[in-house]
């Protein structure tokens, strides 16, 4: 057994040595976005540029992996979701700034780091899935979600999930911690059940009559409505309301990209970043992933425009990132998930 094992390991090592030393026209992508979402984009990129892409997709810890790998890290870019995570990658020191006229022209200043460490690529909004049958109003504010009139009528996933974390962080950034705490306690008191499940389950619970309002991301509803026949009934029973902050806009979060500090294929990596902010990729983000493109002039998917006209909140997203930790501790303090 020992001999077999040694042989196996030796064989694997040799193969890997060969792979590691082969230099190719490629770019290495570490991603928190799922492979199935990102692969069509990367395939199109390879087709356009001839640059091969290598991918590793995970749910957490990629920043730590890049940091541990250090100077030998093969990572060229990190694709991630959530502004808080983009900022953390920068804070961990695993990024390097990019100076690119193409990126600066394509991406509005609000959605990229002034120092060029991170760039937003697509957007999603955190919205309300309302019961068609039981909710008559067409507009709602985030503040109103804490109104006792919704007592026992709201469903939401864990308060520690990054989507909710960013929404709560935005609330803190808008109103301050004391007001946010009061609001979060009100929202908690309005919940029909303990936070659990995901955004689709939230829609399912609204459809089943467990609650009247659910909190979810824009693209889940569209996917259920357009692509997932078995979940169409949940979309049919609900409609999306784009909530706004009082006197503000709708809370949006970003998916984005950073250039890794020790990127071995830096030129290719920047090409990929620029390509992702370009026409073709932005169309794919809009139509395949049901996200809002960051590039102006790209048509938003019809199902998504059916929600109404998105007016993203004007507050810079970097302010949201700053309150990430405060939001997490507030969730603990009010026992939101208990």
């Amino acid at each position: 057994m020992n001999i077999l094992r040694t042989k196996l390991l030796a064989g694997a090592t040799l193969a890997l040595l060969a792979a590691a030393t082969a230099q190719a026209n490629e770019v290495n992508v570490y991603t928190y976005r799922e492979a199935q979402l990102i692969q069509p984009l990367l395939d199109a990129f390879t087709k356009d540029t001839g640059i091969k892409t290598n991918v590793v997709a995970a749910s957490s810890g990629l920043e730590q992996r890049i940091r541990a790998e250090g100077a030998n890290s093969p990572a060229d870019v990190l694709l991630t979701v959530d502004i808080g995570r983009l900022q953390e990658a920068v804070d961990l020191g695993i990024t390097q700034p990019v100076k690119s006229a193409v990126l600066e022209k394509a991406i509005p200043a609000q959605y990229r780091d002034p120092n060029g460490h991170w760039f937003g690529i697509s957007m999603r909004a955190r919205v309300v899935y309302a019961s068609k049958e039981r909710v008559k109003q067409d507009a709602i504010t985030y503040e109103e979600l804490a109104d006792p009139k919704w007592k026992g009528k709201i469903c939401i996933r864990s308060g520690q999930h990054i989507y909710n974390n960013a929404l709560f962080a935005a609330y803190i950034a808008k109103h301050g911690e004391a007001k946010a705490e009061e609001w979060l306690r009100g929202l908690k008191a309005n919940l029909a059940q303990k936070p659990s499940g995901g955004d689709r389950e939230t829609a399912r619970d609204v459809a089943a009559g467990k609650c009247d309002l659910g909190i979810g991301n824009t693209y889940y509803w569209a996917l259920m409505n357009d692509k997932e026949a078995d979940k169409k009934a949940w979309a049919d029973a609900t409609r999306v309301i784009l909530p706004t902050f009082q006197g503000g806009g709708t809370h949006v979060n970003l998916s984005g990209v950073v250039l890794a500090k020790n990127a071995p294929n830096k030129a290719n990596a920047i090409k990929l970043m620029e390509w992702l902010a370009g026409d073709k990729a932005q169309h794919l983000y809009a139509d395949v992933n049901y996200e809002y493109p960051v590039l102006n002039g790209i048509p938003i998917n019809k199902t998504i425009t059916g929600y109404g006209n998105l007016k993203p909140d004007a507050m810079p997203v970097s302010k949201v990132a700053e309150k990430k930790k405060a939001a997490a501790t507030l969730v603990d303090k009010v026992g939101f998930d208990n």
Partner: protein
């Protein structure tokens, strides 16, 4: 003949019965030190992270997070342990004590829930039992209820739901451990009791189960550690476990040191519990007499008794395997996953098998080396190292992977230094960036299974055998080969099966450590699950079942028919 009060592995009488030359003892110590060192590597880097400290977060966690997390985790562990040991030890006892029609089929059906990843079980049961699911919809239709407010139904997304789901998919750990033990239990005890007129239940209560305590302890420990490792199911079902707290502390509360501290405290608690259990059975022996006539024959059941046995054994199989598998099959058909077969799945299946098989061999070899070293050189230092080597299982997969990053890259840096000096070029991350990282993580994580099973197996072999072998002049290697290995073979196969299937479904460490462009079946399912669309991965989930089922059937047949000549009349 050895008895419960006689000389034993733990008793002083035989300490030193196997006298070794100091050099052999040193070799044993070196072997277990090397194995313990491998397990220590990620823990040391976790300790380094924890020592950075975060006083601010500690106070916050103590005030708001830990009280809830501790309570929920304790309740979850107790609940899962109770359900899984009732189902696992209960069915193991039935199939080893009785002979009834359908038993041979049940033998390989009973371990099958192993192949259902816990979080997949959670998604499936939430789908079936939630408000919008078929069960409640049917109830509403039957009773004319119009909304969920009109009736009460136990919420599946709850602590109770988590206990139920984890209990029914994790019971095979106890089942396999208990069965390996029941199977090799000596008939002398059972015969004596039966001769004295004891009924099967009394025999079970007073003899079989107490004698199986080491195996039950291993089974319950493995189940509990699987429960502790879970993150997907608890998050989905809304249970605030300590493991979930580790993640939210790291990712949301922004404190990796705080997260490392919680992990290490959990680890210490687990180590303490295991030590407590061992202390509880100190001075007791569970070994088999040298002279004997093999295991007791099974009692034939007919009529109502046989039907009851079949029904009792079918319940856990139905809940833990048949229902989830049918659900997945239905998704495969509904979604046309076979028609639109993703050819990449073939490659992912081969990758998964390669990782799992390599890791299984590595785990069994190291586990056997550690157990044999301990047997040959009974010394507290060796025992300490072996116990320590089993601790990797108590570290959640992602945390283990995080801890492994630095040591793996450290090895790479040494390799690169050598190649730079002697070959004039560097080779990059040949360890951290390759499948080796995954195999190392699996090995550290699942070593506990091999060590647990093998120690339980060895505890059944009387040291009288060793004495005789020594008197007859056998060298240790010959003794291990000709006496120990045949006797612990069921334990080896049991451990190999568990490790292999655990590797097939391992997710968190694989996700973080796998090389670029490599997917396993688990990571393939995960990319859908994380988007809330796990049904799209149903075919891959069934492939895990298919890959897992063959070794289960083979090993069950092998262990049952080839190893133990049970049905020979005594």
């Amino acid at each position: 003949m050895t008895s419960l009060s006689g000389p034993s592995l733990d008793g002083p009488a035989l300490r030193g019965a196997v006298r070794l030359w100091p050099a052999r003892k040193l070799t044993a110590l070196a072997v277990v030190l090397a194995i313990a060192g491998l397990v220590a590597a990620p823990l040391i880097s976790l300790i380094k992270i924890a020592l950075i400290g975060d006083a601010e977060i500690a106070g916050h966690l103590a005030a708001y997070v830990l009280p809830v997390a501790l309570t929920q985790t304790a309740l979850l562990l107790i609940g899962v342990a109770v359900i899984s040991s009732l189902l696992g030890a209960g069915t193991a006892w039935i199939v080893t004590t009785f002979q009834f029609p359908g038993r041979n089929t049940l033998l390989w059906l009973l371990p099958l829930p192993l192949a259902i990843p816990t979080y997949i079980g959670a998604y499936i049961y939430a789908d079936i039992l939630d408000t919008a699911g078929p069960v409640q919809s049917a109830l509403r239709a039957i009773f004319g209820w119009r909304s969920p407010a009109d009736y009460w139904f136990p919420p599946i997304r709850s602590l109770g739901g988590a206990i139920f789901i984890m209990g029914i998919v994790l019971y095979p750990y106890t089942y396999l451990a208990a069965r390996a033990m029941f199977q090799t239990q000596h008939r002398a005890f059972v015969d004596a009791a039966r001769t004295l007129g004891a009924r099967p239940f009394a025999v079970a209560r007073q003899i079989t189960v107490p004698l199986a305590r080491p195996a039950l302890a291993v089974g319950i420990a493995l189940t509990s550690l699987e429960t502790l490792n879970d993150i997907g199911a608890s998050e989905y079902l809304g249970v605030q476990t300590l493991t979930l707290t580790v993640f939210t502390t790291w990712l949301n509360r922004g404190s990796l040191p705080g997260a490392a501290q919680i992990s290490l405290i959990m680890l210490a608690a687990v180590a303490a519990l295991i030590a407590l259990e061992r202390y509880g059975r100190r001075g007791q022996a569970y070994d088999t007499p040298v002279h004997g006539r093999g295991p007791a024959p099974r009692i034939p059941l007919h009529g109502r008794g046989a039907r009851l046995a079949v029904v009792l054994c079918c319940i856990p199989v139905a809940l833990g395997f048949v229902i989830p598998a049918l659900f997945l099959l239905r998704q495969v058909v509904m979604r046309g996953l076979l028609v639109g077969f993703d050819p990449a799945l073939f490659r992912h299946t081969l990758t998964t098998i390669a990782f799992a098989a390599t890791a299984t061999v590595s785990v069994i070899v190291l586990g056997l080396a550690a157990t044999v070293a301990l047997r040959l050189a009974r010394h507290p230092a060796v025992a300490g190292c072996v116990n320590f080597a089993a601790i990797g299982y108590a570290v959640p997969g992602t945390v283990l992977a995080l801890g492994l990053l630095a040591p793996l890259v450290g090895v790479d840096e040494i390799i690169n230094w050598f190649t730079a000096v002697f070959a004039g070029k560097t080779v990059g991350l040949v360890v951290a960036g390759s499948g080796i990282a995954v195999v190392v993580a699996y090995t550290i994580r699942f070593l506990a299974i091999a060590i647990g099973f093998l120690q339980a197996g060895y505890s059944r072999i009387s040291t009288d055998f060793d004495d005789m072998a020594r008197i007859l002049g056998a060298r240790p290697a010959a003794m291990v080969r000709t006496i120990h290995l045949p006797l612990v073979r069921p334990a080896i196969w049991g451990a190999a099966l568990l490790v292999f299937i655990d590797c097939l479904k391992e997710l968190p460490a694989t996700l973080l450590l796998r090389p670029m462009n490599v997917e396993t079946l688990s990571t393939y399912i995960y990319q859908y699950a994380t988007r809330g669309n796990f049904e799209q991965g149903a075919l891959a989930a069934l492939m895990i079942v298919a890959v897992g089922i063959l070794p289960i059937i083979w090993i069950v047949r092998y262990a049952d028919f080839a190893q133990v000549p049970r049905d020979r009349p005594g």
